[in-house]
Symmetry: C2
Subunit: 316 residues, 2 copies
Amino acid sequence: MPPRRVIGIDAGGTKLLGGVVDQELVVHHRVRRQWRGADRQETLDIFVDAVEEVRAAAPDVDAVGFGLPALVEAETGVSTWSNHLPIDGVPFRDLLSERLGLPVVVDNDANAAVLAEHRHGAARGADHAVLVALGTGIGGGLILGGRLYRGARGFGGELGHMVVDHDGEDCPGDCPGRGCLEVLASGTAIGRAGEAAAAEEPDSTLGRRLAGGGEITGGLVTELAHDGDEQSREVLAGVGERLGAGLTGLVNTLDPEVVVVGGGAGAAGELLLAPARAVVAKRALPPIAELVRIVPTHFGVESGMLGAALIALEEA
Amino acid sequence: MPPRRVIGIDAGGTKLLGGVVDQELVVHHRVRRQWRGADRQETLDIFVDAVEEVRAAAPDVDAVGFGLPALVEAETGVSTWSNHLPIDGVPFRDLLSERLGLPVVVDNDANAAVLAEHRHGAARGADHAVLVALGTGIGGGLILGGRLYRGARGFGGELGHMVVDHDGEDCPGDCPGRGCLEVLASGTAIGRAGEAAAAEEPDSTLGRRLAGGGEITGGLVTELAHDGDEQSREVLAGVGERLGAGLTGLVNTLDPEVVVVGGGAGAAGELLLAPARAVVAKRALPPIAELVRIVPTHFGVESGMLGAALIALEEA
């Protein structure tokens, strides 16, 4: 009998990544989409379209798991609130199940990611693990006492909205907060910090790019930093230190064995992680700092997709 | 058969409160001590002395529970690290059990407090509850999924060391952090904010007190605020807002039903809680803010003592 296969869809603030995933977590077909300012109906159509694309290649799939950048009500599968997509109040599970004619499970994107990393990745064997996914925003997922932690209604783990600068800047998107970690250490924040650095030094590589009308994104800063650009490395180090401040409070709160850092901005690797790790080592309560490991994801940007598939395999 | 009775001891950063507690949580005898700069040996002697005092009045007690302002290793009962008392590395459970000739259980002070509030107090019925104890420092305790959350080794729940001002002031005591909640919203922080306000307005009640050589403590500010002193009320409101910023990140992280605010500075009541509640209502992710209640302790400053007794009743 061939292994059972499902579709896992990871939706971020900017793009969607999906695939056909089997019980061994092998990915057979991948699909990508970008939202590009889609409204609610268009966004839902893109989800359906992405699923249908991979389903055409794998008609044997028997369920779909979605990870959404949203507060997902655990019991109902309703996307209650999202800082990034126009899907507030959408009864996502029931709606997509009806449109697709398949069993559907829905969870928060970073919940899915931490599950994959806990079962088979960088947090394997840890009973207490934290994942932060640095992308357009910052998602978070918690494994506490060996299990996915959801909070009272499934809204827990919004680590991008820990307040690390109590009198700080307004959080972007629909979050009514200020000084959230998402303001300081997301992929978007890397781009903003890069832009500020570019404006300060017009003769630098970043500065010339900005002067030439180019957009300074987190991806560009990361690419230049990997190529050895000192200013871009400093930008990443500064963001890494702010990430470290947020993680310091988090590890003091949860005493986890491991913090896994993923998301698109995870591509910065040690250029971001080493400064974050140094801040935690210096500033967290010493017996907590001593234990905790801060590591990259095992599955890279695919943690969320694999986790969504895992939830579908287990719950659908 | 008379109900079983134990001794509960709650040790804070400045003082100790203990009592004989029966299975109905009735307190029969109370004892109080202050540390006043005691060194390690003196501190341990004060613990023993306090227990012996109440034991003399209740020779039938059969166990002692201690809540310590320390990271307590869950399995061994070792006080691994404390920001406030010189008891780092003390094998507290075994040492006190030997000196007292009684079974002893040891836990973090705020873990004890949240347990009492969860079982019989302000967090009753909540599966996800948070307690912050505002005193000399800030202690924290978590009930997650209906159970006391300890983290990987018992060090979890150090909510006073969430970072809410990533580039902020050094945390007092032995914490190597900066901008911890403890810097901004403890009883000590109320005193410091009061002193700053006094220095700014020498003609105010606080100002005259300071000019006269009096110490501006959190307790004094709270007392004056309750008496209607506007400046003291503003001081409490400012601290309450900073507390609210910290709680905003915490509720976004954990999606709890209830946050219980206790400790000595809980005496400020609504003068502190109302501004904190307003900040959470405004700045937390809306579906999370909508659910969460922010309330005072049911047992006031006795939560920790009762919780320590509960742990002794259940585990010793």
